[in-house]
Amino acid sequence: MALEDVARPSAGGRSIAVAVAAVPLLFVVSGLAIRYAAFASVSEGSGFAAYARALCRWDCAWYIGISELGYERFPIPNQSNVGRWGFFPFYPMLVAAIRVVFPFPTILVATVTSIVCSYAACLVAWPLLEKNMRAYVLYCAFLLSGPFSFHFTTFLTEPLFVLLTSCVFLALKRSSYLAAGVSSALLSATRLVGVLVVFATVIQMFREHREQGGSTLSFPRWVLGRPDLLVAIFISPAGLFAYILFLYLTIGDGFAFLHVQRAFGRVAGNPLVFLWDGLSAVSTTGWLPTAPQWSALAAITGLALSAVLAARRQYGAALFCALCIILPLITNLASMVRYVIGLAPLTMLVAVLLSASRLTYLAALVFFLGACYFMTVAWIGGYLALV
């Protein structure tokens, strides 16, 4: 592969930098082309605006509502039980801010912003992938031209979530705890589970402490003696707490984002039972897995990959990913595929594993690009497992 050639040790740093910037750009273009072809094959409309609208499915409409109208107070207008409170504010706020500068329809602004976020997430992944060009190519292909690339290029929180998650882990890799804390704060305002990344920060601090010869028992004292670490820890959930305060001041219920889940029919239960129910939902009409089966398989695969991360001594990332799967699993399997593929440490791990041999690398690349078309058609068609 030409791209690998550029990355050989003999190649200069400048050509590598160009390749690192060009690879995701290439997949931005190919992804747009493939998804547009899928859109054109099932839709009568044409043009980028129609394409962007067609890919705006499920939660996308909620984010457009938040970006354009903000959050409702209580009682909710139109006799509705479902408020927008369950959807976190940072990404719709960001899109609203960008729309002030570029006054185009919200979905167009959001689509471009999502692509930019995903592109940036790829760039941030380069050092996290240990500058492994094959893995980098696969990761970029997955995000921007892969089977789930519509999740990363429409108005959902996944693009920003992946970008901020990557920023946190890059900052932790460099022991830049304040940068990790600020990224975590933004992450916690993007999705509820974003706040869980603070555990990865604490684990990295512990690891650094141990590497410096510190004992387990002396760790709390070591942290208390470092105000920068304390700031990093306490600033990590700041986005979530800001949102809680906003909800308290406007609705009177700081936990409205949790309580409104009742109106979406989410009920707390045993994750193992939900997994079993999902796996047991066998199709009666064909051999393909049903939507609940895909969701259950995604959760199990995600947890297995988290275990692999732990085996590779990436304990912080492993714990973060496992918690990000288990927490929503407590309510049910809804959106599980999206939640799992939106966990950057897992998708990076998959990219690294698949890039181990040239054969799997090429096969995965071809599969990603080919599946992009069919999965986009399924997404536009409202296939339930992709919600």
Partner: protein
């Protein structure tokens, strides 16, 4: 930049600032958490979202009504019926308005009464074997007015007299339907999706109570 790289004269100030900022963050988060643990919401919000003691989120909806008028809850009467539906309903559909959850409510404004009231409802049970009957308890202004067991797919006419104690001097009728045999979508599904009856029509008539 590691804190150890800060020039010595400023290091102490930076440390103190760091501790102060960390304390402000921690303090703010504790205060916000305390506020969130003590929500300042009305009883309806609390009952539906927090305590989850009802599946029917009460609203201040109220529809006007003329005695003797039959309100259709099929698609043809959707607009008229919408004003008196408070919560716990889905539709209207061709076969009536479907109940949703464990309780449904209607609320209507009535003219001053010098007499009693009889209610006539046309309802059908939602049936999914082994559940082949639906028990419904109907209350008016909080007072139990009637209990009925529906069976079969065909709508059934249910007539009952509203207890005078429920009427009093009020000009509002708050009619609650409590379902004892609601059918959940799946064993693990939320109770807000339970199905029990289809309400086809509603009518109130003045009656002589002497």
């Amino acid at each position: 930049m590691p804190w150890s790289d800060i020039p010595a004269p400023y290091r102490r100030a930076a440390w103190l600032s760091g501790y102060a900022f960390a304390a402000v963050l921690a303090g703010s988060e504790i205060v916000i958490l305390a506020l969130a643990l003590n929500p300042n919401v009305n009883a309806d919000y609390r009952a539906y979202y927090i305590d989850q003691t009802t599946t029917c989120l009460n609203r201040d909806a109220i529809g006007s009504y003329t005695l003797g008028e039959t309100v259709s809850f099929r698609s043809d009467g959707a607009k008229r019926a919408a004003s008196i539906k408070v919560c716990g309903w889905s539709g209207s559909a061709g076969d009536g308005t479907h109940s949703l959850g464990e309780t449904s409510r209607l609320r209507l404004e009535i003219p001053p009464l010098g007499h009693g009231l009889a209610a006539t409802l046309q309802m059908a049970a939602v049936i999914r074997p082994p559940q082949i009957t639906q028990r419904v308890v109907i209350s008016v202004n909080g007072i139990r007015a009637h209990a009925v067991t529906l069976s079969g797919k065909e709508p059934r006419m249910v007539t009952f007299i509203i207890p005078p104690a429920a009427l009093g001097k009020t000009d509002t009728l708050d009619i609650a339907f409590d379902y004892l045999d609601g059918i959940p979508q799946t064993p693990a599904a939320s109770n807000i999706y339970k199905r029990s009856i289809k309400l086809v029509s509603f009518r109130l008539d003045a009656i002589d109570t002497d």
